[in-house]
């Protein structure tokens, strides 16, 4: 009952959220152009966009598309003139759209924020919290009858929504300008300014992690491992990834997500970031050193003792979203041997790409030459990595495909940091998942619910430990096992059972 009400409220708020995209009127004025264009481009813009000036638009879509078209024209000209520095990027278009908006939404941001985000959170919580009345334990009933969790119509719709959302966010933010407006009040509160698209995204991301984190904790509340792990994820996302960087920039310090690191943070060594950190004085230098120490020393040491889980399922933001928002989709990962093969090629390919790209970028930084080894153009390495891996793979595919390929598509097939952590986990770590003697009944719960697509059962039923570079140590296989067969452990490296025993425990025939 309460849950139905919650669902209703959530859907209403979500509907309104979509509806806000159609709200407001738009009027482009000369002042707006003056604010958003550098002097040398202003005249061009005024001419190109003359037909729009002081026109009333009742619809953000037509406004944004006409605007983008005009600006595309400008960019074409600049491209032809090779006037790169004049080019106009999405963020400028976005802020022009925002500045041109007027109407109910602009005047009632606070109220609209409450009616969309606020109600959605309340609705979701009403839907989630009553689950606590059921006895604690594994509650997977009905997953495979649920159209959202089994690639049926609802799952496909959610996936489509997410994909469209990410494409808009990365490449066409002007169309979702109203969404950034909704979170302006929050942005004002935290950093005094208006919300950028990344602020909006960060806020939405954090809210998702928090709300769905609560769901996850309730769901797995019989397991302290799961509770602590999820609280950790929620903490790192909210405080370290979302709030702390805002505070840093409020203090006029270079801001950084302290837990993010190269090569996941692929732009860490880009010239503008290095310059900014160096310009940031002692604190900037500290951030630079911190970032390097994290992946050079932090990763090997921590993975040696605890496995890659310390990062992937306790700290990381991508992992955090996957474990919370993505939890309902974990069973959709492909467990076949073929998928494992593809995974190894892809993820190590991305790692290699990231390393080469970074070497190229640093080469350019230190030598000023734009051609690595004389023939690899570093700039296009950098931009194609950013586009293909940074945006398409990690965002559009990484999250958009949750309801289609499981919640760890990015972590499993794409993340270069996961590949790096994984190599250490596989070859030099105390971590393993121990299997309990002969107790496995090959039921397959572990494999089914492993988000990384590891066929856990294949090991468990042979009495072999699970030592796999991809295992993020989420602990769900251990939680769902009805026979108490699996346990995530750290122990002497030499005690990992890498080769299945000839016969399992319980059989006394000579081995």
């Amino acid at each position: 009952m309460l849950q139905k009400l919650g669902l209703f409220i959530f859907l209403a708020a979500f509907g309104l959220f979509i509806g806000t995209l159609g709200m407001n009127n738009y009027k482009l004025t000369n002042e707006i152009l003056e604010k958003n264009f550098k002097e040398d481009a202003l005249l061009d813009a005024k001419i190109e966009l003359a037909s729009m000036i002081d026109q009333n638009y009742s619809n953000s879509y037509t406004f944004a598309s006409e605007l983008s078209e005009g600006i595309n024209q400008l960019n074409k000209v600049y491209n032809a003139q090779q006037a790169w520095d004049k080019k106009i990027y999405e963020d400028t278009i976005l802020s022009i759209v925002k500045a041109s908006a007027n109407g109910y939404l602009t005047d009632n941001k606070g109220l609209m924020f409450l009616l969309t985000f606020g109600l959605a959170i309340i609705g979701a919580l009403l839907f989630i919290l009553p689950e606590i009345q059921k006895p604690a334990g594994i509650k997977n009933d009905g997953i495979y009858f649920n159209p959202a969790m089994t690639r049926k119509w609802l799952g496909i719709s959610i996936g489509t929504f997410l994909i469209v959302f990410y494409i808009a966010l990365y490449f066409k933010p002007q169309y979702i300008a109203n969404w950034t407006m909704l979170v302006d009040p929050v942005s004002k509160l935290i950093n005094g300014g208006e919300a950028s698209r990344w602020f909006m995204y960060g806020f939405l991301y954090t809210i998702s992690v928090l709300v769905m984190g609560i769901r996850y904790i309730i769901r797995y509340r019989h397991s302290k491992y799961q509770i602590f792990r999820t609280l950790s994820i929620m903490f790192f996302q909210t405080c370290i990834a979302f709030i702390l960087p805002e505070i840093m920039s409020n203090l006029n310090l270079p801001s950084a997500d302290l837990k993010n690191m190269w090569p996941l943070d692929y732009s860490f060594f880009f010239n503008y970031r290095i310059d900014k950190l160096i310009a940031g004085g002692t604190f900037g230098i500290f951030l630079l050193i911190w970032g390097i120490v994290l992946f050079v020393v932090g990763v090997p040491v921590m993975v040696y003792f605890f496995g890659k889980r310390w990062y992937c399922s306790w700290v990381c933001g991508c992992g955090g979203l996957a474990e919370t928002l993505g939890d309902p989709f974990r069973q959709l990962s492909d467990k076949s041997l073929k998928a494992w093969k593809i995974e190894r090629y892809l993820i190590h390919g991305v790692l290699a790409f990231a390393i080469i790209m970074t070497i190229g970028v640093l080469y350019t930084y230190f030598t000023g030459s734009y051609n690595l080894l004389g023939f690899i153009p570093t700039e296009s390495l950098k931009s194609s990595y950013g586009f293909l891996i940074g945006s398409i793979f990690s965002g559009v595919v990484g999250t958009g495909f949750y309801p289609l390929m499981g919640n760890r598509v990015w972590c499993r097939f794409g993340c270069p940091l996961a590949a790096y952590l994984g190599i250490i986990q596989r070859f030099k770590s105390k971590f393993r998942i121990t299997t309990n003697g002969g107790q496995c009944i090959s039921c397959g719960n572990c494999s089914t619910h492993c988000e990384m697509g590891i066929d856990v059962r294949a090991y468990a039923q042979k009495g072999q430990d699970i030592v796999r570079s991809s295992c993020v140590g989420c602990g769900v296989c251990s939680a769902v096992c009805p026979r108490g067969v699996l346990n995530l452990e750290n122990a002497e490296t030499g005690t990992r059972v890498m080769i299945a025993p000839d016969v399992l425990l319980g059989n006394l025939m000579e081995k």
Partner: protein
């Protein structure tokens, strides 16, 4: 090339096939009428409850069989000619073929019978009505799924492990379940009273209507031959659209039975001669090499009955692990290395709704006179540990038997390491040693609350001893006696 034919693609037949393949190059054919591929019977419940799909219950991908040159044949074997060494198949889709119509045949050099079990039916009136079934095969799952939309109330007869699973399954689909249990407490023929009470409480807590000391008298049908109610021996009528019969299983040896078999011999186990003179009792009789009385014919798994079971093991053990061990064992014998069936220290596990149970060694329902017991239960009433230990020294197989040597453990709500308990029981560690080192056996996930101290304190209070914990479970495990190779 020698041809090994295995009837039955369950855990025992498939384990045998895999291990034969590892050791030999012979031709292997596995026959089953139930499904194309091996699946995990133990996971049928999870398919019904929507935790997984049927394909997830298959432990090997479909390409595995061809790659390992294990031929699979989907067919029901109608009869075996042991003299000609030939199997005859039933015509496809012909369940009621009473005459000797035959749908092909296959010859073997060695035959392994891994036929599994069938659910018991005790001749109740109405037991063949629509809506009455057991839960064993893939077909049982299918028919249950088909009926589910029509079921509002269900009655389950017989309180064993499959009964609880069926109760949990129906409950997950919001069906009212009444559970008729003949005994006065759940599974008390296997469990000591405290554990039995603990499970009973938990089942009731999950809104299952548990009726103890209650026996089925008859099943009542409507004009369409569909069940509409049951009557108990005390005369109560309970309305229901479904009756689950889970009163145990028996070896599935219909294939080998002949109409008039006479019991031969008075010694236990007595036997009848089935098809071709094969010795049968409740199951197919086998010696310690898993050989039947017919040359080159073996029987393993649920359908096998051991003529001389190891001491303190039953002659028929219908569980997953023993099927697997028999499969591993018979493969050796068939590949030219005769090997006795030697299961080690007994172990088993189950899950009752949310409570996990594991057991190692011997913990019988009734305490034998030569055994003492120590029982601890957490105040929640959902977690408990029982350890049985030797009162005096005695002659027992597999293990040393000093006074106080531990003989077995039941653990509910705490996972324990198989290796550690196997070693403790085999080497006859004393109850005191075990309690002081109990954390070594702890297999719960990290950060779980540990109860070893509380357990030890209870023992100290009861016996006036002053034992202290000698081992501890930290974030870095020590893996004792683990014979591990990397």
């Amino acid at each position: 090339m020698e041809h090994v034919v295995i009837i039955g693609n369950g855990i025992s037949g498939i384990t045998a096939a895999r291990h034969i393949r590892k050791q030999s190059d012979c031709k292997i054919t596995v026959i089953s009428g139930e499904t194309d591929h091996f699946f995990s019977r133990t996971a049928l419940m999870y398919v019904y409850m929507g935790h997984m799909k049927f394909e997830h219950t298959k432990p090997y991908e479909d390409w595995f069989w061809e790659k390992n040159r294990i031929e699979l044949k989907r067919a029901w074997v109608k009869t075996v000619d042991f003299e000609e060494k030939k199997l005859y198949f039933r015509l496809p889709n012909d369940d009621n073929d009473k005459e000797a119509k035959i749908g092909g045949s296959i010859s073997y050099d060695k035959l392994i019978l891994a036929l599994g079990s069938t659910p018991n039916k005790f001749g109740w009136k109405g037991q063949n009505l629509k809506g009455v079934q057991g839960l064993y095969s893939y077909q049982d799952l299918e028919s249950l799924q088909e009926m589910t939309p029509q079921i509002k109330k269900a009655v389950i007869v017989g309180g064993g492990l499959i009964g609880v699973e069926l109760a949990e399954m129906l409950h997950s689909r919001e069906i009212d379940v009444t559970f008729l249990v003949r005994e006065s407490s759940f599974w008390n023929t296997v469990m000591p009273p405290e554990e039995s009470a603990l499970i009973s409480r938990h089942i009731a807590e999950n809104h299952i209507n548990l009726q103890f000391s209650s026996e089925l008298d008859e099943i009542i049908g409507d004009e369409n031959g569909q069940v509409k109610a049951i009557r108990t021996k005390s005369g109560d009528e309970i309305e229901c659209q479904f009756v689950g019969l889970t009163v145990g299983v028996s070896p599935n040896i219909a294939l080998l039975k002949v109409p008039q078999g006479n019991m031969i011999g008075r010694e236990k186990p007595a036997f009848v001669l089935g098809v071709g003179g094969i010795k049968l009792n409740r199951g197919i009789l086998v010696n310690e090499y898993l050989e039947t009385n017919i040359p080159d014919v073996y029987a393993i798994g649920d359908c096998a009955e051991h003529e001389t079971p190891q001491k303190d093991r039953k002659n028929i053990e219908q569980i997953w692990y023993t099927g697997r061990i028999m499969g591993e064992t018979v493969a050796r014998t068939i590949c030219g290395k005769p090997t006795k069936y030697q299961p080690g220290i007994f172990f088993n596990s189950a899950k009752f709704f949310d409570i996990e149970y594991q057991t190692y060694g011997q913990v019988p329902a009734e305490l034998p006179s030569d055994t003492k017991t120590f029982y601890w239960e957490h105040s929640s009433g959902k977690i408990c540990v029982r350890i049985n230990y030797q009162a005096n020294s005695a002659e027992l197989p597999l293990r040393r038997t000093d006074p106080k040597a531990v003989m077995g453990v039941n653990t509910f709500g705490i996972r324990m390491r198989h290796e550690v308990w196997d070693e403790w029981i085999t080497s006859g560690k004393s109850i005191e040693y075990v309690l002081e080192n109990l954390p070594t056996a702890n297999f719960d996930p990290e950060f779980f609350k540990q109860y070893e101290k509380e357990i030890l304190e209870k023992y100290n209070a009861e016996t006036g001893s002053s034992l202290i914990l000698k081992s501890k479970k930290g974030i870095f495990s020590k893996l004792p006696f683990v014979n591990r190779h990397s």
